[in-house]
Amino acid sequence: MTIIKRKIILPTITVIIFILCPACFEIVEEVNLNNDGSGSFCFTLNLSQSKLDINAIMLLDSVNGRAVPKIDDLKKSLAQIETSLTKDSSITRVNISQNWENYIFAISGDFKNIDALNEAINNIYTMFSKNTGQALVSNDHFSYSNKIFKRLYHYNLADHYNSLSGKDKLVFKTAKYTSVYRFKSSVSNYSNANALKSKSGMSVMLKSSIMDLITNQKTIENTIYLN
């Protein structure tokens, strides 16, 4: 019965999943910046809308030709990321929260300066690259000087997206991205036309679909001028 379940029933359910509910996840990126360039970050991946599908997928050996990782392996990877970030003294109070019932994961911590934040992000990419076998390019993702905060965008996801199979592409169909940057000084101006400033004038938010980012219809690049 186990063989029948793994080879016939569950793959059939997977096909049904991808037809009925192509993609339901969201990414939230939050950075709280102090005037001296230190601050805190929190990167959240929320898969709760797809939890029924993920529960079924986790029972399979592979999906779309890719091996399905075991939960224990994923937990080990997250622990390794936490250890790696903690080693860097310029990143403190590192916390990785894991909700395996609703599949919500968040990495958060404090940074002493923007370079430390960039280093932390590159470390996280390094850890994921080891598992996915993809090449890493170190980049600055943020910069801050002279009261100008920049979110930089180096990624060309279109090529990688186009190389995916049809089924893999479906994963991104309705996925969402939100970034929120909070400051101690008020925001005088910002460059991204799709971003919004809060009523208090101390925060900037950008919401986009992942597909718009992949197809370069929108960008997360933003230059924020502070008073």
Partner: protein
């Protein structure tokens, strides 16, 4: 075994040829075959315009494959021309028979095809074997004999038998075991001089199985005997298999088996076309009755023989016991005398298979008290008219349990060592278990239905941002479309079922949500819910359904034909093929989308239903197609051609 495949391919190629009427050959078919098939070529050709179908790329490709496999060595061009069999003395308007039979040493299969011109056929064989001098065709006991690659032919003026044989695996296994014993023969007797053992006796009530005696193991003499010096397998680069005694033995066994098979074939080939009279299929009254309606295709499977072959092949288990009956003989006896009859008719918009299973003596005993003849109708109102399929059963739990229990009490004691212990354990259990109460927990009616794609509520987390973009996590509900799966069990004693669910709840396997239960999260990540209503236990993946079971009425309820099926049968399987293939065809990323779309346009549904009668079971399977102008057989062949064309296009795109 390749020749068996060739036989089947050849059968298919025969239907493309023209014809003249000929006699039935059932008197040449042995009555006691393990498998027998008959195809009425005349009927098949009248229903399907084979001349037109022969032009389809798929059929052309198949014809070429058959011709290349069979005639590669002898025919260089125009392969397909050699398959226009009507031109070569073969009568393709009669009935072709295929059967498979076992002998103590050899298994063989044969196809019998009527001839209308022996001389033309003989010339055809000579052409195929490039035998201009006629030396490949021999005459023996008024029949002609030849072979084309692995396929053997025997023919006279009435019919041709295409056949082949292979050594019985059971016999080969016993031969190998005997030879292994002689490997350590201290007398230095060469393996070459060892005669093969007698074949194992058939499993029979009156005769005990006697294994060929195995010589005792003797420490090898390491003196001059070259065979014994090399009893250690040398795995390094100097290993020479010709000096490995095990390889020598295996090769010897193969050689002996080939010799036995060849000798058997020579002794029996002329008998293939002999009228077998009372021992032929024509003397089987049940077969005569079964094919009275002149079906397109019919076949018979003797389950008893097949089970016997299978059980015998578990040689290592049976050989653990010496003397007396094999411990598996009780299970073999379950199928002894059990015969499966089936006939197929190809109609305009459907293909119908009618089947009948004649019970063995033991099966009759098991089913003798079964009274249940239908499936409860209460389930139907929970099955919507957009369902994708269902399987329903009505089991007489008490009668079957008693029947199986009595059967086990007969069989278990015969299993050495553990059998008597198991029998005693069952007797003790009888003291403590109230069987009547156990049988009545459920009514015996079970339905598993896939009710179509329904909205499913999913509560998930998302984020809300206040005016200053501070984030808070909130719950949100979305509706996702999922197939609604329902397993419905008819309840006999509601109180007992509630007690069971309560036990699972208190032991935290289940979690209670008001008037229904769900699997506790730590036990399963998949949604499974339990609900009792109307004396039915529902087990479903839909929380909405578990909260409030939907009753479908009017247009939304399942078609009344299903109620009729439930009323007259004890098992029903229904699959709405169009609904399922149409659903999967929506997946634009699949490379099978074209095939799925074609399938949706052609197929409607398949329904299988059956019921028990005294001494036998009857069943019917109807594959329904959508309205077309052609016979269903033609539609299916054209569909297969479409799949073939799609696959070749994908390869070259």
């Amino acid at each position: 075994m390749n020749s068996i495949k060739l036989l089947l391919l050849l059968l298919l190629s025969i239907v493309t040829a023209s014809f003249i009427h000929a006699q039935d050959l059932r008197n040449l078919v042995p009555r006691e075959s393990s498998f027998t098939g008959v195809a009425d070529m005349n009927k098949l050709k009248s229903k399907a315009g084979f001349a037109e179908l022969a032009k389809l790329p798929f059929i052309e490709k198949m014809a070429q494959s058959v011709a290349e496999k069979m005639f590669k060595d002898s025919v260089k061009e125009n392969f397909a021309g050699y398959l226009d069999l009507g031109k070569y003395g073969i009568n393709t308007s009669g009935k072709a028979y295929f059967y498979f039979k076992t002998d103590p040493k050899v298994y063989y299969g044969a196809m019998l095809i009527p001839l209308n011109n022996e001389a033309e056929f003989t010339a055809y064989v000579k052409k195929l074997t490039t035998d201009t001098a006629g030396s490949h065709v021999t005459v023996k006991n008024n029949v002609k004999v030849a072979s084309i690659r692995e396929l053997k032919l025997v023919w006279n003026d009435k019919a041709v038998a295409l056949w082949n044989a292979f050594i019985s695996p059971v016999y080969k296994d016993s031969l190998r075991k005997s030879m292994e014993g002689f490997l350590y023969n201290p007398t230095g007797v060469s393996v070459d001089t060892i005669a093969p053992p007698p074949p194992p006796l058939q499993q029979d009530d009156s005769v005990a199985i006697v294994e060929a005696p195995v010589p005792p193991f003797v420490i090898p003499d390491t003196s001059s005997n070259s065979l014994q010096k090399d009893t250690t397998v040398n795995m390094d680069s100097n290993y020479n298999p010709s000096r490995d005694p095990y390889m020598v033995m295996y090769n010897k066994v193969d050689s002996i088996c080939k010799g036995i098979t060849s000798e058997w074939c020579r002794d029996h080939e002329a008998n293939l076309l002999m009228d077998k009279g009372a021992a032929s299929l024509s003397a089987d009254p049940e077969f005569k009755t079964f094919v009275k309606s002149q079906p397109d295709i019919a076949f018979i499977v003797d389950y008893g023989q097949i089970a016997s072959i299978y059980m015998s092949s578990l040689g290592s288990m049976a050989s653990m016991f010496t003397g007396g009956k094999s411990p598996l003989s009780g299970f073999t006896d379950l199928y002894k005398g059990m015969v499966f009859y089936a006939k197929i008719e190809h109609n305009r918009n459907d293909i119908v298979l009618n089947a009948s299973v004649k019970y063995s003596g033991m099966m009759k005993e098991i089913y003798k008290d079964v009274k249940k003849k239908n499936i409860g109708a209460d389930f139907l109102k929970y099955m919507s008219n957009d369902l994708m399929g269902y399987y329903a059963m009505g089991i007489d739990i008490k009668a079957i349990s008693k029947g199986v229990g009595n059967y086990m009490k007969k069989v278990l004691p015969e299993i050495p060592q553990y059998g008597p212990i198991a029998t005693s354990a069952l007797d003790v259990l009888d003291i403590f278990i109230d069987e009547e109460r156990l049988y009545n927990i459920f009514s015996g009616d079970v339905v598993l239905a896939v009710n179509g794609i329904k909205p499913t509520r999913v509560i998930h987390s998302t984020y809300k941002f206040d005016d200053n973009y501070n984030r808070t996590e909130v719950n949100d509900t979305t509706t996702q479309m999922r197939p609604e799966i329902l397993l419905m069990l008819g309840i006999g004693n509601r109180g007992d079922v509630e007690k069971i669910l309560k036990l699972f709840n208190t032991s935290q396997l289940l979690k209670q949500y008001g008037n229904y239960y769900g699997l506790a999260k730590n036990n399963s990540s998949l949604p499974v819910y339990f609900r009792i209503q109307d004396n039915i236990l529902f087990i479903t993946n839909s929380q909405s359904f578990a909260e409030n079971p939907v009753v479908y009425a009017g247009d939304k309820q399942l078609d009344k034909t299903h109620a009729a099926l439930f009323k007259k049968n004890t098992s029903v399987l229904y699959v709405d093929i169009a609904s399922i293939t149409g659903f999967f065809a929506k997946d634009t990323t699949t490379r099978y989308q074209k095939n799925l779309t074609s399938a949706t346009a052609l197929f409607s549904s398949v329904t299988m239903y059956g019921s028990h009668k005294p001494g036998y079971a009857e069943s019917k399977c109807v594959l329904k197609l959508k309205e077309t102008t052609d016979n269903a057989l033609v539609d299916i062949i054209k569909f297969i051609n479409t799949i073939y064309e799609n696959s070749t296009k994908v390869k070259y795109e």
